[in-house]
């Protein structure tokens, strides 16, 4: 059973993601400082809201550098919603400088008929990935956001979604995974995606140990 650290940096609902990770057979635990990260096999950074306050809180807890180091070391990582956006260089929302693990920025959703983009929308894969094993093409997931990542390297885009214009709704580069939607709030398909992340992480951990 893999141990999944869930980064807690203040606001918001962690109950759902922690419980969902339990349901899919991992051993999740909440981390509020860098020391606790040492016990983890995989790291999930969830979150909603704006980038700047999130970076301030991560920084206050001494988590910015450890998370960056985790990501660059090739260990299993899943960013959810804001956790995906933070992977990039910065956000247009409040000008925040974010983790900079991937090139690109978070930009406001263009041509959106309503903002925030709230509700269930189709996630259309542009290539195959183990993250979506057992999930129908264009399955609906739950979104809550006004900004989305605009990666410099489009080849990392795994899936896209339309709300006025198309935006990347899932990305993958090596061990770095990110989804703009909330798998912990997306019913059965969401739990399947988290189970897939757990399987991917397990393989990576076994590979590193071998």
């Amino acid at each position: 059973m893999i141990r999944v650290a869930v980064a807690d940096y203040g606001a918001g609902n962690l109950v759902s993601i922690v419980r969902a990770l339990e349901v899919v057979g991992t051993e999740p635990f909440v981390v509020r400082d860098a020391d606790a990260l040492g016990k983890a096999d995989a790291l999930v950074v969830p979150g909603v809201g704006a980038a700047a306050p999130a970076m301030v809180r991560l920084s206050r807890r001494g988590l910015v550098e450890p998370i960056r180091a985790w990501i660059t070391s090739g260990r299993p990582f899943l960013g959810i919603c804001l956790g995906l956006q933070l992977l990039f260089d910065g956000s247009d929302e409040d000008g925040a400088r974010t983790l900079g693990a991937l090139e690109g920025r978070s930009v406001r959703l263009a041509d959106a008929p309503t903002l925030p983009h709230i509700g269930w929308n189709n996630v259309e894969r542009t290539r195959t990935s183990a993250l979506f094993d057992g999930i129908a093409q264009a399955a609906a997931f739950y979104f809550v956001h006004s900004y989305a990542a605009a990666p410099a390297d489009e080849s990392i885009v795994l899936a896209r979604t339309e709300h006025g214009a198309w935006f990347p709704s899932a990305i993958e580069r090596g061990s770095i995974l990110g989804v703009q939607f909330h798998p912990e709030r997306s019913g059965r398909d969401g739990l399947q995606l988290l189970a897939n992340f757990s399987a991917i992480a397990s393989r990576l951990v076994e590979g590193a140990a071998a």
């Binding site: 759902s16 709230i118 929308n121 129908a136 019913g187 059965r188």
Partner: protein, 258 residues
């Protein structure tokens, strides 16, 4: 394409589903989590708990209920009723809710909307507006469960709430609530025209056709109802099937029992 959402609302007090003050004659009182699971299995896109227990000592029970729900049902949960401060909102979110719905407290103190949105993001802040036709035309906002008029024009209040940071508006027609005469289409149209955030229609649903009209004619992004689902007049599945048949985008992939 973004689906139109169908949202069942549960009136709760003391950790139980209760006969509502707003939604009368609720027959099957019981465990909210059991009902929430049934709704999720039937295709509910989100859940709303409206805490109608006035007593502050009931908050602990509510938080426990929210946590139990978040641990069991993996669809979004909004909690309304009695949240009057940023710290109360924090408690509800930390217990496992995704959004909080503000109503009377936001009217009394509009800056609460901005403070909550700044702290938790506007996506977590729903402003609920209870609207009734005003004597001189238009609509007036009411508070305290529809018992107290505010003198606020609904359309101006809706715009103001969005400026302050509301991420969604939950618009209930008090005139239609419990009457089964359909959602107030004119009210919905007027609000949707003025704001860019999603609008959730509530009050007056009698059958699946009313939901279709609220979206097609009222341009609501989501529709919320209580008694029609509790009384099993129509199921969520039937409502979504009717919406799909009318050409509306809905999520038809229902949950298998979790």
């Amino acid at each position: 394409m973004l689906s139109r959402r169908v949202i069942p609302c549960l009136d709760v007090a003391g950790g139980r589903v209760v006969k509502g003050t707003r939604f009368v004659d609720l027959e099957d009182a019981g465990d909210p989590v059991e009902l929430a699971m049934r709704y999720a299995a039937d295709g509910a896109d989100e859940l709303v708990y409206l805490d109608i227990s006035a007593a502050p000592e009931g908050r602990g029970t509510l938080l426990e209920l929210v946590e139990r729900t978040a641990r069991t049902v993996f669809i979004p949960l909004t909690v309304g009723g009695g949240v009057r401060s940023v710290s109360e909102m924090r408690d509800v979110l930390r217990a496992g809710a995704d959004k909080v719905s503000l109503n009377s407290a936001a009217v009394a103190e509009p800056s609460l909307i901005r403070r909550c949105a700044t702290r938790f993001g506007r996506q977590a802040v729903v402003v609920a507006i209870d609207a009734a036709g005003a004597a001189g035309g238009g609509w007036q906002a009411w508070v305290k469960g529809g018992r107290e008029p505010t003198g606020l024009d609904v359309l101006s209040w809706a715009e103001r709430a969005v400026e302050l940071g509301a991420g969604e508006l939950l618009v209930t027609s008090i005139d239609r609530d419990g009457t089964g005469s359909g959602f107030d289409i004119e009210l919905l149209q007027a609000i949707v025209e003025r704001v860019s955030v999603p609008v959730i229609a509530s009050g007056g649903a009698a059958g699946p056709a009313d939901f279709v009209r609220a979206v097609q004619e009222g341009h609501a992004d989501a529709v919320l109802a209580a008694s029609i689902f509790h009384r099993r007049t129509a199921s969520i599945g039937e409502v979504k099937a009717a919406m799909a048949a009318a050409g509306l985008a809905v999520r038809l992939d229902t949950e298998r029992a979790a």
